[in-house]
């Protein structure tokens, strides 16, 4: 078994040989969507090759997105809206709850 540095772009894994030449590994099984460029490790065994993405950059991106949504919801909770039977009012303590979630995300307590 070998573990190699690997990158993925356009759904295709690529490794670099000892001469610095890039070699495509189209039959590597990607353990990620492979839509965006990513770096990770290619695990090659006697049965095949599996690409494991380095999830830390993705996770940071995800955290930032969730926090941005939390900010938006927090702001909405402060805006007086006309309540109609079709709309559920936000709970009164939503602003506080969102601040708590954001604080936990910041501290990465939810990972």
């Amino acid at each position: 078994m070998k573990i190699l540095d690997c990158s993925v772009a356009g759904g295709v894994a690529t490794i670099t040989d000892s001469n610095g030449v890039e070699i495509a590994v189209p039959d590597a099984v990607l353990q990620c969507a492979g839509v965006f460029k990513s770096k990770g490790k290619l695990i090659v065994s006697d049965s095949g090759a599996v690409y494991i993405v380095d999830t830390q950059p993705d996770l940071q991106f995800l955290l930032d997105e969730v926090k941005a949504i939390a900010d938006q919801v927090g702001k909405m909770s402060l805006i007086p809206v006309s309540r109609t039977p079709d709309q559920s009012p936000l709970a009164p303590d939503v602003t506080v709850a969102i601040e708590v979630i954001k604080a936990k995300l910041d501290a990465k307590e939810l990972i």
Binding site: K2, I15, A24, V25, D27, A28, V44, D46, G48, A49
Partner: protein, 156 residues
């Protein structure tokens, strides 16, 4: 010369001092050191990492591309996965089809206890209704005679 072979690791030889006077230089040039003896160079030079589509060996002038990306359990098994093996006669890489082809000038006899042959028995060659799956014995370069055991079996 001590010779052993199986379908996982291929051929392994142990050359004794008394062989050196008769061992052809050609055959010696096919060999390279390995743990516990010498093996065929043609097998040893294979990479232990094969990448799909990348040529990894040359059989009679034809480059063979890897059928998948993997690290074969052994180099000999990696060759077999691509229908290639080593020739016991020439030390080169040949197709399995070529290895199984009987040669009219070769014979194997048995006394009931010991097998004798006028060549180093070729793995995968037809034998007793099956194929040669392993051997262990000696090859006397002076008389060019193999004496030992030959196993018949199938590839797992």
């Amino acid at each position: 010369m001590r010779v052993s072979a199986d379908l996982e690791n291929g051929y392994k030889f142990n050359i004794q001092e008394q062989d050196l006077a008769y061992l052809p230089d050609g055959f010696k040039s096919y060999l390279t050191p390995d743990a516990g003896g010498v093996i065929f160079k043609s097998q040893a030079i294979l990479s232990d990492l094969l990448v799909i589509g990348q040529p990894f060996c040359n059989v009679a002038g034809v480059l063979i591309p890897a059928v998948k990306t993997y690290t074969p359990k052994t180099k000999f098994i990696g060759l077999y996965d691509h229908k290639v093996t080593t020739s016991a006669e020439f030390g080169s890489l040949i197709s399995i089809a070529d290895a199984t082809r009987p040669r009219s000038y070769q014979w194997i006899k048995s006394t009931g206890k010991t097998f004798y042959a006028n060549h180093i028995p070729q793995l995968f060659q037809g034998f007793n209704g099956s194929i040669i799956s392993g051997l262990d014995g000696t090859f006397d370069w002076k008389s060019k005679t193999f004496a030992g055991v030959i196993y018949a079996g199938v590839k797992n």
